[in-house]
Subunit: 397 residues, 2 copies
């Protein structure tokens, strides 16, 4: 009876440990799977034989970040590379016949390579990919675990920022920077706060070319009407030539030439522009790492789906190699999803953008998005509390 | 039968509406108090006769920010100032005999002046102050409503940031900037995360002179030992001569001269220093407005105490003028507080620093603080959810 190895890689999320929980729970219940090993720091742990047993899973489902540790490491194209020799050694030593990698599009590249490697040497080890990323930019799946919790956090925070910034009489523009280098899924999530009347005035996404003058006109128009402006902007917004707005160079306080220096975020650049060109007081806010690790505010739907993907992977990896767990939305009135398998090479290294026709006038989001995203943030799973603080499961402190 | 006016001022918090709720509920239950009016934007609403009736209080207790709108406005020393004439007009028009101002030390100055004004003209209107501020820097009270929820959010967020930044193998210093221009109470709150093994490595507070070289040595030592550094720093840290570290001027990427330009926060300044002097990768994070408006993660103890202060004010304002609601910690094994009255002029315009002997070696916090602060973050009050997001009560959208 072969053992199963599970690993996590790419950026942490609030749901990646729920998928780990699902993989482990299902494997433990399966009489055909032996032990469950976790690779510490993903493929790196596999290469360096740094594995741990996973027995106790209490609090794991509600713990954010990657319990096993993450990694950004690319395996070589060449199966003669020494990494593959080391991996095979670890696999043989621990009699591993199944591998589940929970990760994003980079990680699916690892799944693709490992599955082809084992096949090329006829070694009986199946590798499967489990989706994970707050960015929601994986192809081949309706959405990704982690995304729902992130936009629940983002939309909630926009509600709260709206209340806070509206408390004063004095006029001000507030620019909130949301993650998303290539896709605007997270920034679009702020639109959900509009359902409760507390959303941003405008949203700017990487999918739509960013025009500085148009942006300043947008801000000015809102400011003149209501003296308060709340803007959501993706870190990755670009101009029509594809240059990141975050890299606009400061020249004597005016930002109008492009340079090659990272100035510390697009919100700072846009804030400086509003101050110098419009003379409007500005506050800039980066949601930063909090938008991907706020384990105290997760979507029940998201965590349950993350677990479901993990369980499905544990089941299917016994008879499938080089596959990816896809979430498919059932065609019913009430929202539900099912898991299916797709070939991982159809997913690896690709980016799914937000449909361009869901962006209105370059600064707003359509109801199509709301219909798509609203089910993903439903329900809450509150972690246990100790000392007045959430209890999280920790491998390393 | 006289009516009661309630107002809010100063920076928003997650608990100021719980005090408003308390004032209103108690006044409604009191047969000797007539209607309850809210002054929109504090004393400004009083001057300009912008009052509203407060009838429906559903969701008010768990709504962050200031429901009635806040203001930063100083009344004149001179009771002949036109503001006082306008205020008296509003008071007479609506037959107001009682006023409760929920606010910080600036707002207590308003309470002091108004109470002396009414006394000076022998007009029967009593004014009372209800404590509020996340900064916890009010004298004359054990702590302030709003503080407990803020440090619950801060400590929780530190736990989550610790998990997130530990997920990767690569070394990095993470500098987290916490509010607190004059007092380190909020930054000290991050220490509570250490109880669950997930706190910052070091904390730097305004009460202790900040030495740049010592700071860099601290960071270097931790980095060499564990390759991950998590730092909490108050926005208001100063050097031994009292100059804000946030105002360190950038000279060719090195920060060693002092200028007069706000560079956008102390975390950015310290991040640049670590990069240029130590060559360690850095991420800087500002908890920004989120630390004072995260209504989705509040302390039950804090909100209940905030309500209690509001109720006490409604009761006591009938027979007291120029007073302030103080929270006194009962001398018992189990934590509890009671409300008492102190003279508001003993509170106004003063700042309570964290006791200097609670700061260890300039970069750590003693157990005395933990014993003091831990009771304040106990329990959770979750708001109602609609559309997957918290339901907040809104006067203006």
């Amino acid at each position: 009876m072969k053992n199963l190895l599970v690993a996590q890689s790419g950026g942490p999320t609030s749901a990646i440990n729920a998928s780990l929980y699902g993989v482990v729970m299902e494997a433990n219940e399966n009489p055909n799977i032996g032990k469950v090993y976790g690779a510490v720091h993903g493929v790196f742990g596999l290469i360096h034989d740094n594995l741990i047993g996973i027995y106790d899973v209490e609090s794991l489902k509600t713990t954010p970040s990657a319990y096993l540790g993450s990694v950004r490491y690319h395996l070589s194209d060449d199966f003669n590379d020494i990494d593959y020799r080391d991996i095979l050694e670890t696999v043989k030593k621990h009699d591993i016949g199944y591998m589940a990698f929970i990760g994003g599009n980079d990680s699916m590249d690892t799944v693709d390579r490992l599955s082809r490697f084992f096949k090329s040497i006829n070694y009986p080890c199946n590798v499967i990919g489990v989706p994970k990323t707050i960015d929601n930019d994986l192809v081949g799946t309706d959405h990704t675990p982690g995304y729902g919790s992130s936009i629940k956090y983002i939309a909630t925070t926009f509600q709260e920022l709206k209340l806070d910034t509206n408390a004063y009489q004095s006029g001000r523009a507030t620019i909130v920077e949301v993650m998303g280098r290539d896709a605007g899924w997270l920034t679009a999530g702020s639109k959900l706060a509009c359902l409760n009347g507390l959303g941003p005035d405008w949203m700017y996404l990487p999918e739509s070319a960013f025009n500085v003058d148009k942006f300043l006109e947008d801000v000015k128009a809102i400011y003149e009407r209501q003296r308060k402006v709340l803007i959501a902007v993706s870190e990755g917004v670009r101009d029509v030539e594809g240059r990141y707005i975050a890299n606009l160079l400061s020249v004597d306080g005016n930002l109008d030439a492009f340079g090659h220096t990272q100035l510390g975020g697009v919100s700072g650049v846009l804030g400086s522009l509003i101050k110098s060109r419009l003379g409007i007081p500005v506050r800039t806010i980066e949601l930063n790492l909090m938008q991907r690790c706020a384990g105290h505010l997760t979507s029940k739907t998201d965590l349950d789906e993350a677990e479901m993907c993990g369980r499905f992977a544990s089941k299917m990896v016994q008879n499938n190699n080089g596959k990816f767990v896809s979430m498919v939305r059932n065609d019913q009135k009430t929202y539900s999803i099912r898991c299916e398998l797709v070939n991982v090479n159809e997913v690896a290294n690709k980016v799914k953008s937000l449909p361009i026709n869901w962006i209105i006038n370059g600064n707003d989001i359509s109801d199509d998005f709301i219909e798509y995203a609203l089910p993903l943030i439903q329900g809450e799973i509150t972690p246990a509390y100790s000392n007045g603080l959430p209890v999280y499961k920790v491998l390393y402190k």
